[in-house]
């Protein structure tokens, strides 16, 4: 009953808020009617019309105040009063432009940073994948112990899983090595090299990513001699064909064959940024065709599965574990390692969770520090406004109304801050999303979207409450008597206010300190990472992705082509050496198994070996890999038997401990090819193959002419040589795409990009925090000096030296800074565990980082304290005393 009444009253209120105009008009009409009735009666009683009207109005009294009172009771006044508060608040903000500008700017930075980080976090970690029932999608990797590899699976396993498991509605895959196949589009202007992804026919259906236009692959298109079909990615379709829907059903000439465009992927599903972030964007998907023997090729399928509804990841894992053990027994030749099932969402964004949570925490901390600062500024202003409030209380203002008005002022500040922060967030988010520099999945889908806007609103309101509550409560406690006295100097409430302000400063300094330490640790990790001994010299070297625009009749012709190409490049001025390779370090690698001659199978503890195919002589010289013993590949090693190979120190150490590896023999197994007899001709230094953080594993090099990557080392500036190399390539093989050029340093940039992003953002946030903390300390001390001018004047008049006064103020500020610093260091040590996984080569309690951070903070604090201290020392005792 009570509830219903309350509800109807609320509804009434809301209605009246909506029809404010009408309600107001109704009241006016009702009151006017009353006056007119009275006038009519007066006339009837014999008055003249003028007198009658005058008497009626006089008798009624103050129409305006009655009207107001009615409106207030009616609830029509609710919206009105809020509007009034807003108008009043805006007037207050206009009256203090300096304060308003500082507050709005800090809030804009704080809120903008939070919105931007939320937008990134939402895209990478939170937003469901734009696929049908994404929570049922899993990734099945084939983890190879000790290697940070994507965990690809061989096709035979995929086929067996598909047939023998019951957990999955369907299984699909793409080929992890698809970028090794080169595609060139011709017949549409300049020849253009395309990036294609090979997928199983079931891949799109498994993901539930229906093409936006056209259809998926048909069964016959996945057959060996079936029609050639491709599905374009949205980006390629827009870039190359200006989003022409008519392209579906047309033919494209790729690698001199005719392919039908059967569909276009929807814009929501970005294959590249979902599965292969940081790599060159894929232009089209084509079906993996059923080639005989394909199923026995090596591990090359990246497998995704759709769980049957109700099946958990753990259940699927258990089923696969059992099945894999049986398969391993039945097919030892497959060299299976195992399989690990995880939610696809987890696989795609999960490894970045910690980084982005740390960033989100840092952004929130910056906003909290900004709030503490604002709270302090407002508290300082409260001293001046206490009288105003006291007078209002004395005049009968409702305390709740005062709090409301003060909070509305805070909300106005944070609202303006959010408004100004949104463009900042928008620009920052778009800059990250459009940057190809970061190999972070789904980053490109980051937007300041509706959830981000809602988040911003939430943050703005929360910030207003956080920084506005304490000052509002304090101010509303103003008593009427205070209006008559001088504003609370030296009273106990004044002292508790000071305690609150000092507490805010200490917490601000503590948060800044913790943030500085976190940023310092990450930056040191990053620089440690860059100091890693790569094993090759990326400086002054570059790789061209090349694809000859011609067919070769036989192997000799192909070898001759590449040999000639290298000779031409090598002859260019400024080129020190040039070579070819199939892959580059820190990109995808082949893994093979080897065994020693005579030994029947690889040693049990022998990990897979990285196989790098070298496509020309001078490889080690060009890459800057040091030769430890033996000789470099020569031209004659291309077709040698036994095959000449170069091994790295790790492999030499593992296979022939304590002996010279040069001259040793081993057998290479890389099914489906027959085993190859090899002889070691040299040992070279280790190279980091899969990640900078990961020490090198055993590796071997083989040489045959040719390769996708032309690697050039220059003796002069790299950029100066680029046009010459490009011209030489174009002259040698017109139509060969030559625009994909990348300095080897770019590879390092790419693999370090996630760390760089986090370290830089954290550095930015901690700089902001440091500035805010400095402003905060300065503000409080300056306020305190201002308030104590009188006291300082007396001290000076009584013979205190200016130095002593300065020390007094410095001591006040620095004691806060020291306490804050101390708490901050403790906090940082307590938060160690969160940072542990993000650091490289530096301990979370690294004394140097902690020491330097604290020192930096204290240094900045000293400057912030020194300015008010100097002002205190310059107080003229006469002026100070007269001031009263």
């Amino acid at each position: 009953m009570f509830f219903m009444k309350k509800l109807s009253s609320i509804l009434h209120r809301l209605r009246s808020l909506g029809q404010r105009r009408t309600a107001k008009q109704e009241i006016d009409e009702e009151l006017r009617f009353h006056i007119e009735q009275r006038t009519a009666e007066n006339i009837a009683a014999g008055m003249t019309p003028e007198d009658a009207a005058r008497e009626a109005r006089k008798r009624f009294g103050n129409v305006q105040s009655v009207r107001e009172e009615c409106r207030e009771t009616r609830g029509a006044g609710f919206g009105e009063a809020t509007l009034q508060d807003i108008r009043f608040g805006l007037r207050m903000l206009r009256k203090n432009p300096g304060f308003t500008a500082v507050a709005v700017l800090t809030l804009a930075l704080g809120i903008g940073a939070n919105t931007a980080i939320f937008s990134l976090l939402n895209a990478i970690l939170l937003r469901p994948l734009p696929l049908r029932e994404p929570e049922r999608l899993v990734w099945i990797s084939n983890p190879i112990p000790g290697y940070g590899l994507p965990g690809l699976t061989r096709r035979s396993n995929l086929l067996d899983w598909r047939e023998l498991t019951h957990s999955f509605e369907s299984l699909g895959a793409y080929i992890g090595f698809a970028d090794r196949i080169s595609y060139t589009l011709t017949g549409r202007g300049e020849p253009k090299r395309l990036e294609g992804a090979l997928v199983t026919g079931s891949f799109l259906a498994t993901l539930g990513a229906a093409p936006g236009l056209g259809r998926g692959f048909l069964a016959e298109e996945c057959q060996r001699n079936g029609p050639l079909a491709i599905i374009l990615t949205d980006r390629f379709w827009r870039g190359q064909f200006q989003a022409d829907a008519g392209i579906v059903g047309k033919y494209l000439t790729i690698n001199n064959k005719s392919w039908t465009v059967v569909g276009v992927l929807p814009p929501s599903f970005d294959f590249s940024s979902t599965f292969i972030p940081g790599a060159r964007s894929v232009d089209f998907l084509c079906p993996l065709r059923d080639v005989p023997g394909y199923e026995n090729w090596g591990n090359m399928m990246a497998v995704v599965g759709r769980l049957k509804s109700g099946v958990t990841v753990a259940a699927a894992q258990a089923e696969l574990d059992v099945l894999n053990a049986q398969l391993q027994k039945a097919h030892p030749e497959r060299g299976m390692f195992g399989s690990q099932v995880m939610a696809l969402r987890e696989r795609i964004g999960g490894s970045f969770r910690r980084q982005f949570l740390v960033l989100a925490g840092a952004a929130a901390t910056v906003l909290l520090i900004a709030c503490a600062n604002l709270s302090n500024l407002l508290l300082a202003r409260a001293v001046a406004r206490r009288k105003e409030m006291a007078v209002r209380v004395a005049l009968g203002a409702d305390r709740r109304r005062l709090i409301r008005q003060l909070l509305i002022e805070s909300l106005l500040l944070s609202g303006l801050g959010a408004l100004l922060g949104l463009p900042v967030a928008y620009l920052a988010t778009n800059a990250f999303a459009q940057s190809q520099a970061f190999s972070i999945p789904l980053l490109q889908s980051a937007r300041v979207d509706l959830p981000a806007l809602s988040f911003t609103l939430l943050v703005a309101v929360a910030a207003a409450l956080i920084f506005g509550m304490a000052p509002a409560l304090q101010l509303s406690q103003a008593t009427p008597e205070e209006g008559l006295r001088d504003a609370g100097r030296g009273t106990s409430s004044g002292r508790s206010r000071l305690r609150l302000r000092r507490g805010l400063i200490v917490s601000e300094v503590a948060m800044t300190c913790a943030l500085l330490i976190a940023a310092g640790l990450l930056m040191r990790s990053f620089s440690r990472l860059l100091e890693v001994h790569l094993g090759f010299r990326p400086a002054q070297a570059a790789a061209w992705r090349i694809a000859p625009n011609r067919a070769f009749a036989n192997h000799q012709e192909e070898s001759a082509f590449y040999r000639e190409l290298l000779d031409r490049v090598r002859a260019l001025p400024g080129v020190e050496s040039a070579t070819l390779g199939a892959t580059l370090p820190l990109e995808l690698n082949d893994i093979v198994r080897v065994h020693l001659v005579g030994a029947p199978s690889p040693p049990a503890n022998m990990p897979g070996i990285f196989l790098r195919e070298v496509g020309g002589i001078d490889y080690f010289k060009t890459m800057g890999i040091p030769l430890r013993s033996g000789r470099d590949f020569g031209s004659h090693d291309a077709g040698s038997s036994p095959k000449a190979i170069v091994v790295n120190e790790s492999l030499a150490r593992t296979m022939w401990p304590g002996r010279d590896a040069v001259g040793q023999a081993l057998v290479l197994e890389a099914p489906p090819d027959p085993p190859v007899d090899c002889r070691v001709i040299a040992v070279v230094g280790d190279v980091r193959q899969s990640a900078l953080e990961q020490a090198a594993g055993p590796e071997m090099y083989m040489m045959d002419w040719g390769g996708r990557e032309l690697i050039v080392r220059t003796s002069q500036a790299l950029q100066a040589t680029v046009p010459a190399v490009r011209a030489a390539l174009r002259e040698f093989n017109p139509g060969m795409a030559t625009d994909e050029f990348k300095p080897l340093e770019q590879i390092i940039d790419r693999v370090t990009s996630p760390r760089r992003l986090v370290a830089r953002l954290l550095a930015l946030f901690s700089t902001l925090a440091l500035l805010l903390a400095a402003v905060g300390i300065y503000g409080v001390l300056a306020g305190s000096v201002n308030q104590r001018t009188h006291e300082i004047g007396i001290r000076l008049a009584l013979g205190s030296t200016r130095g002593a006064v300065m020390r007094l103020v410095l001591k006040e500020g620095m004691s806060l800074a020291f306490v804050g610093c101390f708490i901050g260091v403790l906090g940082a040590l307590a938060l160690n565990r969160a940072m542990q996984g993000l650091l490289f080569g530096v301990s979370p309690s690294d004394p140097l980082t902690i020491g330097l951070s604290a020192l930096l903070l204290l240094g900045v604090a000293t400057v912030a304290c020194w300015l008010p201290a100097r002002r205190a020392a310059r107080v003229d005792p006469m002026v100070a005393l007269r001031h009263e």
Binding site: K5, S8, S9, H12, E26, I27, E29, E30, L31, F33, H34, E36, Q37, R38, A40, R59, F60, G61, N62, S65, V66, E69, C70, T73, R74, G75
Partner: protein
């Protein structure tokens, strides 16, 4: 200008309005007139109190308001008693009578 005037006790105006409205729905002006007439011109309801009071009572759910036509065919806002209003009238009447009795007792010559 009214010649006789009595200060209304806090809360009595509610009671008077409720009682007056038991006859029929009426607008503010009539309510004021009726109270004045029925009290032999002793109780003069001030407009400044009447209307906020009516609004408050409407807000509390004792009165319902609707726009209708007045005797001279003008748009006017008519108030009527709700069920809650009738109940309130009973309660307030009882309280009033008790208070009156009590005051009378006190005022009786000892």
């Amino acid at each position: 200008m009214p010649t006789t005037k009595a200060e209304l006790l806090q809360g009595t105006l509610d009671l008077l309005i409720l009682k007056t409205l038991t006859v029929e729905p009426m607008h503010g002006y009539t309510i004021a007139q009726r109270i004045q007439q029925r009290s032999d011109d002793v109780l003069v309801v001030e407009e400044g109190s009447l209307y906020p009071c009516l609004y408050r009572m409407e807000e509390k759910g004792w009165l319902a308001a609707a726009w209708g036509k007045s005797d001279n065919n003008r748009r006017a806002k008519f108030y009527s008693l709700t069920r809650a209003g009738r109940k309130q009238l009973e309660e307030e009447t009882a309280i009033w009578e008790r208070v009156c009795r009590a005051i009378t007792l006190v005022l009786q010559p000892a």
